[in-house]
């Protein structure tokens, strides 16, 4: 049987699969595509594991570790595939790092990191949630409460 693709295959680039349904735009915001980037977005695809999922394909781009870390916070179950010449050359699960520096801002308005010109630092407290603790004000937040710098 011929494989039916709902979204065109890409020659070179990255596919981010298993994004929780409804979060594709937040992932896209992290990727900040340039005007010339070709991006395909899929929403509410059916999925065995997640029932519904979103998916992104971005042509001609391989993600930095920093970008993968950011995606992990929004889509902890996402799978990142690198495509070269229509073939998947590597497939990996995203993983939230133990320490996250300079990527997120602290939601606590009374945290020093929102007042001084400094690099924010968070520690992974619980992968479920996920919950992150601010190294400075010591408060714990879920990733959903936090915004990217």
């Amino acid at each position: 049987m011929m494989k039916v693709m709902k979204v065109d295959a890409i020659r070179n680039g990255t596919v981010i699969d298993h994004i929780p349904a409804g979060r594709v735009q937040r992932v896209l915001a992290i990727l900040e595509p340039r005007e010339t980037d070709v991006v395909m977005m899929g929403m509410n695809f059916s999925s065995k594991a997640m029932q519904k999922k979103d998916i992104i394909k971005i042509e001609g781009r391989e993600l930095s570790q920093q970008e993968v870390n950011s995606i992990a916070l929004i889509a902890p179950a996402a799978k990142v595939s690198i495509i070269r010449d229509f073939t998947v050359t590597s497939k990996s699960k995203v993983e939230i790092p133990e320490h996250i520096e300079g990527l997120l801002s602290c939601p606590n308005p009374k945290c020093i990191s929102n007042a001084e010109p400094m690099v924010t630092r968070f520690k992974l407290i619980d992968v479920n949630g996920p919950e992150l603790g601010c190294h400075y004000c010591e408060r714990v937040f879920t990733a959903d409460e936090m915004s990217h710098i």
Partner: protein, 301 residues
């Protein structure tokens, strides 16, 4: 120990070491000589008690103090960053003691300077020298930190002191009563955390029935400004006033603690009972701060 920023950085062993040193310094302060050492007090907000107790501690050990109190007329008003101010203070002194309204300020400064930093309060976050002096006080009052029954009374929701004390005592198998109005009860995340650490506690709305069961009663002030609703405040404001009468059936060894200043939550007739221990507690602050200064300056024996 390079800095003292948060109780989270201290294990039970380090706490007991500081308590033992405070005890020994109370008996014989002459064992430590901080002559020609300078402590810089960087107080971005007013705090008479904490600052003066640190100054007293430093001076009684022979050291000197320079102080910045409030930001008016300082380089801070001209827009200097906290990091820059601290770096300059570090060139003038051997140790920095700082209070700042923003949370995490002391941790940040400790990463910017080469001298030890003591957190004397960073907003609603930590006030570790208060927690340590509370522990020293409890040890002195009861002879041990192990297996005590304590009631924490009053504003348990916003009270930084009681949060910190609950954590600090956690390794010593305490049994807590958390006594507060429902609207000011201990935050759920702290209760969850304490449960994880195997700490026993019971939440109570009234203090009367447990007075005869406890070794320590730690009272905090209920602040009117914490209540969105004036009526709600009026309902609870007198529920937690400790009087000599209330203490009639207390255990002989009960001690009443309060971080001070008190307003009306402990009536003055308690002062003359054997249970009153809050002024001793304030004095203990000096010995504990001496222990902290001596340890961080590397001169503790």
């Amino acid at each position: 120990m390079k800095n003292l920023i948060s109780m989270r950085d201290l294990n039970a062993e380090k706490i007991l070491e500081l308590v033992a040193l405070a005890e020994s310094l109370e008996k014989d302060p002459s064992q430590i000589d901080l002559a020609r050492r300078v402590m810089a007090a960087m107080f971005y907000e007013a705090s008479t008690r904490t600052r003066m107790s640190f100054e007293s501690a430093m001076k009684r050990l022979g050291g000197e103090v320079i102080a910045m109190v409030g930001t008016s007329g300082t380089s801070v008003e001209k827009g200097e960053t906290l990091a820059d101010t601290a770096k300059v203070m570090a060139r003038y002194s051997d140790i920095i003691v700082m209070r700042h309204p923003l949370e995490g300020a002391a941790r940040y400064v400790s990463e910017q300077v080469n001298v030890p930093v003591v957190n004397a309060g960073d907003g609603a976050n930590q006030h570790p020298t208060q927690s340590l002096l509370d522990l020293y006080t409890i040890k002195k009052a009861q002879g041990t930190l192990e297996g005590l029954k304590l009631a924490l009374v009053g504003d348990l929701k916003y009270g930084r002191t009681v949060h910190s004390l609950a954590y600090a005592l956690a390794p010593f198998s305490p049994e807590f009563y958390f006594v507060s109005p429902r609207s000011l009860c201990m935050p759920a995340h702290i209760l969850k955390d304490l449960t994880k650490r195997g700490v026993k506690f019971t939440e109570k709305k009234k203090i009367e029935r447990i007075v005869d069961e406890i070794d320590i009663m730690y009272v905090t002030r209920i602040q009117r400004e914490r209540f969105p609703d004036r009526e709600e405040y009026e309902k609870v404001k007198n529920a937690y006033i400790i009087t000599a009468d209330l203490l009639q059936n207390a255990r002989d060894n009960l001690k009443v603690l309060h971080p001070l200043p008190r307003v009306n939550e402990i009536t003055t007739d308690v002062d003359s009972t054997k249970y009153a221990y809050y002024f001793d507690q304030a004095e203990n602050g000096v010995y504990m701060r001496q222990a902290i200064l001596a340890t961080l300056l590397g001169v503790a024996k």
